[in-house]
């Protein structure tokens, strides 16, 4: 079963590996090019988060959590707001109004540039954190009818792609399957277990 699942998802995994770096790069482009074209912190944050969500859907939440731990996500959520508000505080300390970026440099235009950069980055960081956090929160619920950590993967693959939800598969026996899955000699196998939701007993 697992072997079959792994082979079935391999194309998705390879394509995801190819796509994710470009998605991240595009998010950075949208973030830092927002002054000159359409874009900005909100869009960039969502796109940045989308890369991690895609990774989570294909490789399973466990792998994504190793890349982006939930503690980091919570720090991101708060630090973006802090960066934004802190920029405002700094402008006040420099003798101007809240969020009056003219104070940030000798030349008002340069100050505005720095201010825009900082607050857009703050928005992007917070939005990234919140979006990934929302995805983690929804996808890691345990008390649903499906096995917990791969809820996103199940919904994406099981229902839209293959029309066969993981919950409708026979649930593997917990201990034996866990033992076989847990030695991480072959990463792909482990991932496939995540994707198929097979490495986890149904809650």
């Amino acid at each position: 079963m697992r072997r079959y699942a792994r082979q079935r998802h391999r194309i998705l995994q390879v394509v995801t590996k190819l796509i994710v770096p470009f998605v991240l790069l595009f998010a950075l482009y949208v973030q830092f090019h927002g002054d000159y074209g359409p874009g900005g912190g909100f869009q960039a944050g969502v796109i940045f988060a989308a890369a991690f969500i895609l990774h989570g859907l294909i490789f399973g939440l466990k792998r994504t959590r190793e890349v982006m731990p939930p503690s980091v996500v919570r720090v991101l959520m708060a630090s973006g707001v802090l960066l934004y508000a802190g920029t405002g505080i700094v402008t006040m300390l420099l003798g101007k109004n809240l969020l009056d970026y003219d104070a940030l440099a000798h030349d008002p235009l340069h100050g505005q540039h720095w201010g825009l950069f900082a607050v857009e980055l703050g928005v992007g960081v917070t939005v990234t954190g919140v979006m990934i956090g929302l995805f983690y929160a929804f996808a890691s619920r345990r008390d649903g009818p499906h096995s917990a950590d791969d809820a996103g993967a199940e919904s994406a693959h099981g229902e839209s792609a293959h029309g066969e939800g993981a919950a409708r598969r026979p649930a593997p026996e917990p201990e034996g399957d866990r033992a076989s899955t847990s030695d991480r000699v072959q990463p792909l196998e482990d991932r496939s277990a995540d994707v198929g939701g097979a490495g986890r007993p149904a809650a």
Binding site: G34, P38, Q43, R65, L109, H113, G133
Partner: protein, 215 residues
Amino acid sequence: MEHVVIVALLGFLVIIAVGIIVLRDLLASVILLGMYSLTAAGAFVVMDAVDVAFTEAAVGAGISTILFLGALSFTDGRAQARGHDSLVALLFVAVTGGLLIYGTLDMPHYGSATSPAQTHPELAVRFLERSAEEVGPPNVVTSVLASYRGYDTLGETVVVFAAGIAVLSLLGLRRRRSVSEPPEDAPGDRPGRGDDEPSGEGSPESGESGRGAGA
């Protein structure tokens, strides 16, 4: 020509909205919601609101669909048929919708060059004429969003943050106080899991709670 495209897109929006209401299959509804957002984004592009379209496509068509799919995995995917359709509700909705449409009659026409937003000296005129020397970026939207209205955007960011906190406290931290822990978190199960899965089952809270239970 542009009007034809916009009307066609808005017509699609109506059709998709009706489809969302009529369909009982929740998965199809979620897909249609994504289509709705993408069509709306297309309409925004035609209306030259590229930044809005960008956000709509990324948030509405992208993330929302994923979150809905995640939520859908907790249900059986079918909306329950309601027992009755109240005539009072229909009347209420019709009256409210009629009032809203009546309210739009006072609004300036689409693309009107004489609308207050276009002609007010402190709004579009000032932003378009002065933003380059006052703020700098060629994208006036960014100037307005982050500088002229930086205070609003700070509020928006705080709202996003608060929403994330709310969801995390409802869903993400839930397992810390959950009574009916699944058997994997039983103490006897800990050693094996600890060795094999360094990342733990879930978020750090769950790991801590599991460790707490084990100790």
